[in-house]
């Protein structure tokens, strides 16, 4: 058994997995990773099930130290600098920390959440089949709250398996896709158009429960009180002040404000990764398109192991290349956020 110790960590970081399903009827929140694709990619890199428990790291920096043996980890999600004792580590690759080594992650540069998966996954007591932290309910394991420096995980010793990288498809860009409803009839055509045609920004008061959207005020047709009914991840409620709230993983299972639209499953992670203050738009799609995208998204996650490659093919000694002045345009590729592997190994 090795240990992975949280040497430093910012707020809004916690243990998350695929979420807690089956007790929404009692108000038990689903929780789980804000960006499921990135969670799955990180887990796949170290041989875990796609939705195994990992560390979800918020926009701020973090560092982790291996103790009592080597620990194999992988990071996916928001672009950020990563290094081990000054040696750069690319995102979307696995890496083994030797006993005593520290992996240091910088602030997210674009995006919001990164996932640190640990070979063998984080272990703890399952509640309704999940370790996902829901801090409000005091649920989740091993720490039912945001992580703090000094927390540690008992983890499997590194297997010594070859290091891997994962080639993810180029991220979808463009508007966040939504289906109108279930209460779009609580808004007139002009206000539905206002919602779909306006530019939105995510407010700084947003969290894992909901993203508050800054933009024009959306007016209701019959006032803002409806009889509370069920919500889903991606429901966009419009409260009395007209500022929409997109419900995220720690959402309440029910709510009493009209829901003008619902973010499609395939785009929830994209919305989650939209950083505070970044302008974006919504686009309406049909049920057929939304369900097709949901199926494609599920297939993408299922087939992630097919996207694993040996990491040797991208191991570059950046400093040596720079010193020799042969890196040319490639220097920009050290920016993990723009790193694109263009050739097959």
């Amino acid at each position: 058994m090795s240990r992975l110790v949280v040497a430093s960590i910012g707020p809004a970081s916690s243990v998350q997995d695929g979420g807690r399903h089956g007790a929404q009827r009692y108000g038990l929140t689903v929780s789980g990773a804000m960006d499921r694709l990135s969670l799955a990619a990180a887990n796949t890199l170290v041989g875990n099930e796609p939705f195994a428990a990992a560390v979800e790291i918020g926009p701020f920096g973090a560092s982790f130290t291996a103790r009592d043996g080597a620990v194999r980890v992988a990071i996916s999600g928001a672009p950020r600098n990563a290094d081990i004792a000054g040696r750069p580590v690319a995102i979307d690759t696995s890496v083994t920390l030797k006993d005593g080594e520290t992996l240091t992650l910088g602030f997210a540069r674009g995006g919001a959440f990164s996932y640190l998966a640990i070979e063998g996954a984080i272990k703890g007591e399952l509640v309704f089949g999940s370790l996902a932290v829901n801090a409000r309910a005091g649920l989740g394991s091993p720490y039912p709250r945001p992580l703090q420096a000094g927390d540690e995980f008992n983890v499997d010793a590194a297997s010594g398996a070859p290091e891997l990288r994962i080639e993810l498809p180029k991220p979808v860009s463009g508007p966040i896709r939504v289906l109108l409803g279930p209460q779009d009839d609580e808004f007139d055509d002009a206000n539905k158009a206002l919602f779909l045609d306006s530019e939105w920004k995510i407010s700084a008061t947003s969290d894992r429960m909901g993203y508050r959207l800054e933009g024009p005020a959306i007016k209701h047709l019959h006032g803002h009180n409806i009889v509370s009914d069920g919500t889903v991840i991606g429901s966009i409620q419009v409260p009395g002040d007209g500022a929409p709230i997109a419900l995220m993983m720690d959402r309440g299972t029910t709510g009493g404000y009209p829901k003008i639209a619902t973010v499609i499953t395939a785009d929830v992670g994209r919305l989650a990764q939209t950083s505070v203050g970044t302008a974006f738009r919504f686009r309406e799609v049909t049920m057929a398109e939304a369900q097709d995208e949901a199926r494609k998204f599920a297939r993408l996650i299922k087939d992630l192991p097919d996207r694993l490659r040996s990491s040797d093919t991208v191991e570059l000694n950046i400093e040596a290349l720079s010193d020799a002045n042969v890196a040319g345009y490639a220097v920009s590729a050290v920016d993990a956020g723009t790193w694109q592997v263009t050739a097959e190994p």
Binding site: H21, G22, A23, Q24, R25, Y26, G27, L28, T29, V127, R136, A137, G138, L139, L179, G181, P182, Q183, T205, M209, G223, H224, N225, I226, V227, S228, D229, G230, T231, V232, I233, G234, S235, P239, G240, D241, G252, T253, T254, G255, G256, Y257, K259, T262, V263, I264, T265, M287, A290, Q291, E293, A294, R295, A298
Partner: protein
């Protein structure tokens, strides 16, 4: 009873859930239909349904679009939802203690003012009501009640408070509620109960079920403290009334 309701509507809630709506208002007959449909789907599961959430007036059905599409699922649900179904629940009765006003019910005075009456009258009216647990949702154990007296019905706050305390007893619109955990809320806070409608390592974890009946009784703030300690230790401090 069921015959007076219009046919249910299917409202898409994104690509992986559908709301089966029986009514637009709080209506115990509609709620009975919701609970009956919920029970019918549990007894004869439709492939692809992953989870159901009964609410006041609709059943939210979560499903996997990889297994069944929106149209096909609707075609299977609507006939079940449209037929008369036997009642699903056998009611239990709970008496729930509440410390009204002061630090425990910070909106009590404002609600009294807004409704042009006194805090004592609000307490008498709220604790004099006979409520039904119509649904549980939002956060673990949050029990939404029907049966709020008309004189206490008022609009929710324009903007929700970011945090309200565990055990909050509140009203919002035509609804009343028992909140178990600290959470955001746009409702008006009348008091607090020491009762935990959800407690992880207690048996049962969840105290109330949709269909249960609830009445409230006032306790002083000292009694609240005593009961709160007992509840923290795992006691069910709500009184169950045998029918």
């Amino acid at each position: 009873m069921a015959a007076t309701l219009p046919p249910p509507r299917l409202l898409p809630s994104g690509d992986s859930a559908v709301t089966v709506e029986f009514s637009r208002t709080i209506d115990d007959a509609a709620n009975e239909r919701v609970l009956a449909l919920d029970k019918a789907l549990a007894a004869n599961p439709i492939d692809g349904i992953t989870e159901t959430v009964p609410t006041y007036r609709s059943l939210l059905v979560h499903y996997d679009p990889g297994t069944i599409g929106f149209e096909a699922l609707g075609d299977k649900i609507l006939p079940i939802a449209s037929q008369p179904l036997p009642p699903a629940t056998k009611a239990r009765r709970w008496r729930i203690p509440v410390a009204y006003g002061g630090e425990h019910g910070i909106d009590l005075e404002d609600v009294a003012k807004a409704l042009n009456t006194t805090p004592d009258d609000i307490i008498a009216c709220h604790s004099g009501g006979d409520y039904r647990v119509a649904m549980i949702g939002f956060t673990p154990g949050w029990s939404y009640l029907s049966g709020l007296d008309k004189s206490l019905q008022m609009s929710r706050r324009q903007s929700p408070r970011l945090l309200t305390p565990a055990g909050t007893i509140s009203i919002g619109g035509i609804q009343a509620g028992i909140q178990c955990l600290a959470a955001p809320s746009g409702w008006h806070l009348l008091g607090r109960t020491p009762v935990r409608t959800y407690q992880l390592h207690r048996n049962p974890t969840f105290l109330t079920e949709p269909g249960d009946r609830v009445t409230f009784f006032a306790i002083d703030h000292k009694t609240f403290g005593e009961l709160d300690r007992a509840a923290e230790a795992g006691e069910i401090v709500a009184e169950q009334v045998t029918a």
